[in-house]
Structures are given as structure tokens and as C-alpha cells.
């Protein structure tokens, strides 16, 4: 069966380059699942969790926005940042979440559109990171 070759790059480094069976990505218009022979697709990403499935096993990464391109069984992801579960600093993410929640409460009480949006994005970013570490822990306890 055909597989997908995935490449995840950030401006600072190549995070991952691999063959997988399925990619689940947080696109702006909703989460997309990409299987081999997917139609050519170009989309922007929102902060969220990205899942790579290969032979029954899955790898989870936190991305904080970027772009995704699918063509000819090749998935190219230009991420603003991308971290594997083991790279996420959980304490820092937790602190960022707390700060973003405070900022969001303040911003929404003042009705400042731009600030609310910025705080919401920051919150999503920290949540994605936390989610990734939690999924990793679950997997460890189940095995």
C-alpha cells in the first residue's frame, strides 16, 4: 500500500521526515485526516495537536500554526513551531496556559478585538502542548 512521506520543518530546523500511513492535522477550517492518495491540498494550520500514524503506533506533536501542503503522497508541513511530546516543557506550558487565561479574561472584559484574538491563540498553543504531554503519559500507563 502506498504510504505518505511527511516532512515537518520549522524555520530553525527540520523536525521530522518520515513515512507514515496517516496524518491528522489541525487545519484552520477543522481537523483534517490525510490518507495516501489524498487530493492536492493547501491549507493553513491553527495551533493544535498533530498525529502521525504508522503501523498501529502513533506519534503526537504540538504545532502552533503554519501551513500544510499535500501533493503526490507527500505531506509538507511548514510549522511556526513543532515539538514532539518529549520536547514539551510541561511546566512552562502550564504556566503559559494560566497566563493566557488571565489575559483572555482581561481582554474580553475590555472588548479589544485584537487582544482577545491574541490571547485566544496563546491559550490554544499552550493547550496543544499540554494535550500532547498528556497523551504521552496515557500511552505509557496503558502499556
Amino acid at each position: 500500500m502506498a504510504r505518505l512521506s511527511v516532512e515537518i520543518v520549522t524555520a530553525e530546523r527540520r523536525v521530522l521526515s518520515d513515512e507514515v500511513d496517516m496524518v491528522i492535522a489541525p487545519a484552520v477550517e477543522g481537523t483534517v485526516g490525510i490518507l495516501p492518495r489524498h487530493a492536492p491540498l493547501l491549507t493553513s494550520l491553527r495551533p493544535g495537536v498533530m498525529v502521525l500514524k504508522r503501523a498501529g503506533e502513533e506519534e503526537v506533536l504540538a504545532v502552533s500554526g503554519g501551513f500544510l501542503q499535500v501533493s503526490n503522497n507527500r505531506v509538507l508541513i511548514l510549522a511556526d513551531t513543532a515539538e514532539r511530546a518529549e520536547e514539551v516543557d510541561e511546566a512552562r506550558a502550564e504556566q503559559a496556559r494560566a497566563e493566557a487565561e488571565v489575559a483572555l479574561r482581561e481582554a474580553s472584559s475590555q472588548a479589544g478585538g485584537v487582544q482577545t484574538e491574541a490571547a485566544r491563540t496563546a491559550l490554544r498553543r499552550s493547550l496543544a502542548r499540554l494535550q500532547v504531554t498528556q497523551r504521552r503519559k496515557q500511552r505509557r500507563t496503558s502499556t
Binding site: A11, E12, F67
Partner: protein, 288 residues
Amino acid sequence: MASLRDIRRRIRSIRNTGQITRAMQMVAASRMRRAQQRVLASRPYAEAARTMLGELSQQRLDPTAVHPLLRQRPERRASFVVFTSDRGLAGALNSNVLRRATEEILAREEESQIVTIGRKGQDFFVRRGRRLAATFTGLGERPEYAGIIPVARVVVEAYTAENVDAVYMLYPQFISTLQQLPVVKPILPIQALEEEGTPLEFIIEPDAEAILAALLPRYVEVQLYQALLEATASEQSARMIAMRNATENAEELVSELTLSYNKARQAAITKEITEIATAAEALTAART
């Protein structure tokens, strides 16, 4: 002829200098390796961004809504982002870049806008009484992507506000450890990209214009980031070579001075012996 003590003092001082330059050479060498790795690590993203822009430019875009960063207009006023290092002792690196920058600026009738990166560039233009649109220092020490974002914002704003009609970056391109050449590269307007092969029919979400609007400023940042990384690699290798030459010169001086020290010492000893011998002879002559 210099006295023995003077020569000894000079040898000691040159030897100290040589030790310092040798240490600086080692530091620069290890930083250079890291900087080169960073340059390599940043390439996949830049290439991917280029591919994506190419694909996007082949899609049917609304011709009435060309993105401002792609819109070409006759160049009257240019902006230069000049990359220099924060610290000196890097050979001719900075003076080469600044000479090239001066040529480019003098070649244009309208006064160009200048944005400097690095303390050396800032000092150079301020000393000449040039107005700087913006100046950034401390970026090259530990180059990070986040550091370049404000630089990109300055030039993108100047371009979209039509204060300038073109933006160039000027940085020492890393050719090899021994060679760095100042280059001028246009970054705005973004040149239309040509992709080979037949265009694919992409499903685009939300739409091509929205993706372009997000990707184009990113692309400007990426190009500036790569220039920063190359400038850092160039700086470290130029410094390494400069310090290696200084260390070699110090060693040469020390060996020359050691030779003249030994000669002077020999001469002093000979003189002393002659004096003793003469005195002894005078004594025996007096006794008889």
C-alpha cells in the same frame, strides 16, 4: 640595541597577546561550526516556503487583488538592511560590507532608507551623520528566528506604506571559511516565482489569497533569518582566520625576539669575559 630586560618584557607581552588570540581563534572556530549547522538546518523551511509560494502563484488568483508585497512599482527610494557584526576583530568583514553599502547608497539619487543589524554598522552610519530607520544589535550572538521578526516588520511596513519602493538586504555571504563576499539581494517586492511542471488543482483552505497573506510576510522573515545566519557564520570564520593570523604573527615575533635576546645575552657574556680576562691580565702584569 635594546637592553636584555626590554627584550624579555616584549617577549612576555607578545606571548600573552598570542595566547589571547589563540583562545579567540578556538572560540570562533567552535561558534563557526555551530553557525554553519544553523545555516544548513534552516534551508529545508526556506525551500519548502519557496515551493509553496510557487504552487500558490500558479493558482487562479483574483487579478484585482494582488497582494501588496507582490505589487511591483518603479523604484524611486530603496531600503537597505545592512548586516554587520556587533564585535570587531573580524578582519575586513565589516569594512567590506559597509563599503559595498556605501556604494549602493551613493549610486541612488533619492536618499535610501537604512536599517542596520549589528553594532558596527550602526556606529559606521551614525558617525557619518546618516539617519537610520531602525537599528538592531545583539541578534548575532545567539541567532534566533524570533529576533528577526521586528526587522521584518519594519521593512514590510515601510514597503506597504510606500515609503520605499524596494527593499534589499546586504550581508557577507558565506562562501568558505576563507572567503566571505558581501552580496545585495532584493527581498521586496517578492519576485514572482516560476514553478516547473503542470500545475496541480489544489483544494485551498480557506482560500489562496488568505494563505498568501499569511505566507508572504513569513517568507520575508525567512529570507532575513537566513541572511542573519549566513552573516553570523561569516563573522565567526572571518574572526577565526584573523585570530589565526594574529597568533602566527605573534609566534614569529617571539622567535625573532628570542633570537635577538640570545644574541644580546651572548654579547653581554662575551663582553664580561673579556673584561675579566683583561683585568686578570692587568693584575698579573702589575705583580711582575
